[in-house]
Symmetry: C2
Subunit: 296 residues, 2 copies
DNA sequence: TAGTAAAATAATATGATATTATGAGATTGA
DNA sequence: TCAATCTCATAATATCATATTATTTTACTA
């Protein structure tokens, strides 16, 4: 029993005529006759009584008709739902990001995106390695990460150039100077994210590369907490511009330049090389690049 | 998209492998590959992500999988329901009968039948012409009637020989005699069914054939009412044995023979010649004949 | 880095599902 | 009542979808 069979049967039921059904389905009348009698053979029940030239449904025929309608409706519904997906009237996008991007950038990006498309967006925050794993698993469709990606199967596209700012409280003695020499850092109390965080990696790597000694006095695993601590002048810190721009503009934190040293990193968009790029996926990538102008 | 397509797709989803699905469905692997990619072409959506050698469902794939399962379940349910019908675990039988049979015989017959098969029995009472019409329409499957059937398209099978009994009250002067001559009827008050009823037709036709004069004093369109009236000795009547046997056995009515005259008729089973005889139909016919031994 | 395994692709074979042609039975209308 | 018309069934054939085998590509595994 195929859908075609059911479609033909249902049409015959509704028109109470094989030839009329044939006409409606743009096929020959014998094809309809054959289909019906074949169904009767397969199912081992008589579907129609042929009384005179009039067709009337038998009891099993009525049962099959009711199921047939339900089945056809379900198929139609499935097709139209898939059509909605294809035309992005519905959909699902699973995005992952490492901490900084995830907290300070993506929520707004996703919010804007959902204003344009009423789709479900699933959103995971993890470190770069975790996001990379999720991409490999196809557990998420796309990620935005800060660190280097190791798998050869993952496509990496530069997205945003990030910079970490050295910030201090407006009450700190550096607040006036706006610029210091590297040596001045040595005896300063530094508040820093935990080991393994992308921010700390960039900080330590840059400091080492420039042979600057430093002392991390406080470790907090939460950027917001670090900002509060710096504001309270408990110490200074190095934090992504994405996380502190508001506070700097508001004067609650002060950005301090270090002579000849900049903490730089790149955020990258990553996805699996074999990933099928749905319309929605492409649209989100476009959206990401469009959104960049809001930041730079 | 065919039923087969969905079956293949669902199997692939569940085994997460095309070759495993092919094995399970006893078909070649390329056939599965082809089916899937053809579905993707038709529906214009990617159903699987081919990441490495692992297959994972896309979002539209997941949607189709959920619909697919529902559709397959519905088809299976339809098939098993039809199987139940075929094996008479369920069914429908539409029976019609003319008045006497309908009231005094069929209820018990149907009751017994439903003890054996849990099927729906629809039951219509009408005069012979009405039942004949319903048969022609295929509005009922089978009828039991008393009168002659005119349509050449209806199969008529003799069922039961019925006889009308002349009955009087136990207080009537005939009650002792048990037998009378035709001439004795002439001046008797007769209570009779309305014109057009099968009973009256047989009565009048038999009386005319035997040149007996008679006088119908009361007309009632209800056999039960006639029986009560006869019991009350308001008059005598001629009633099917099926309707009065209990009362005669109980002594409330007395059967009176008329010399050389018997009111005879036959009940017949009728159905349309083109009617498909389902198992249930055949079973009911058999049941009818089995039941005869309870009456004769 | 070879060996194995899975999926895709190509060429071909098969078979279900159409079509045309025709026939039988039934209703309709002159 | 009898031809005309209509409906469905049957038979022969054609077509096209769906399978198969053979082969290639790619990825995982030891």
């Amino acid at each position: 029993m195929t859908f075609r069979d059911i479609e033909i049967f249902v049409t015959v039921c509704e028109l109470k005529s094989m030839s009329a059904a044939a006409k409606k389905l743009y096929m020959s009348q014998p094809a309809v006759s054959q289909t019906i009698s074949q169904m009767e053979g397969e199912l081992q029940v008589r579907l129609f009584d042929r009384i005179g030239k009039r067709l009337t449904l038998t009891y099993p025929g009525e049962i099959l008709y009711s199921y047939g309608r339900r089945i056809l409706n379900l198929v139609k519904e499935a097709e139209s739902t898939l059509d909605d997906v294809r035309n992005m009237r519905m959909g699902r996008l699973r995005v992952g990001a490492s901490t900084t991007v995830g907290i300070y950038l993506l929520p707004e990006i996703i919010g804007e995106f959902r204003k344009r498309f009423s789709v479900d967006v699933y959103f995971t925050i993890d470190n770069t390695a975790g996001i990379e794993k999720l991409i490999s698993d196809n557990s998420i469709d796309l990620g935005i990460v800060e660190g280097p990606v190791h798998s050869r199967d993952i496509v990496v596209t530069p997205y945003i150039d990030d910079e970490l700012y050295l910030v201090c409280s407006k009450n700190h003695r550096w607040a006036e100077k706006k610029s210091i020499s590297p040596a001045e850092i040595e005896n300063e109390d530094i508040i820093m994210r935990e080991k393994g965080s992308g921010t700390r990696e960039v900080f330590e790597e840059t400091m080492a590369r420039n042979n600057v000694r430093y002392r991390i006095k406080y470790v907090l695993n939460n950027t917001e907490a670090i900002k509060k601590a710096v504001e309270a002048n408990i110490g200074v810190s190095v934090i992504s511009r994405l996380a502190v721009e508001k506070e700097i503009r508001g004067g609650r934190l002060v950005k301090v330049d270090i002579e000849n040293i900049r903490f730089e990193r790149k955020f990258s968009i990553i996805y699996h090389k074999d990933k099928f790029k749905s319309n929605l996926f492409e649209e989100f990538i476009k959206h990401l690049y469009d959104f960049r102008s809001n930041i730079k």
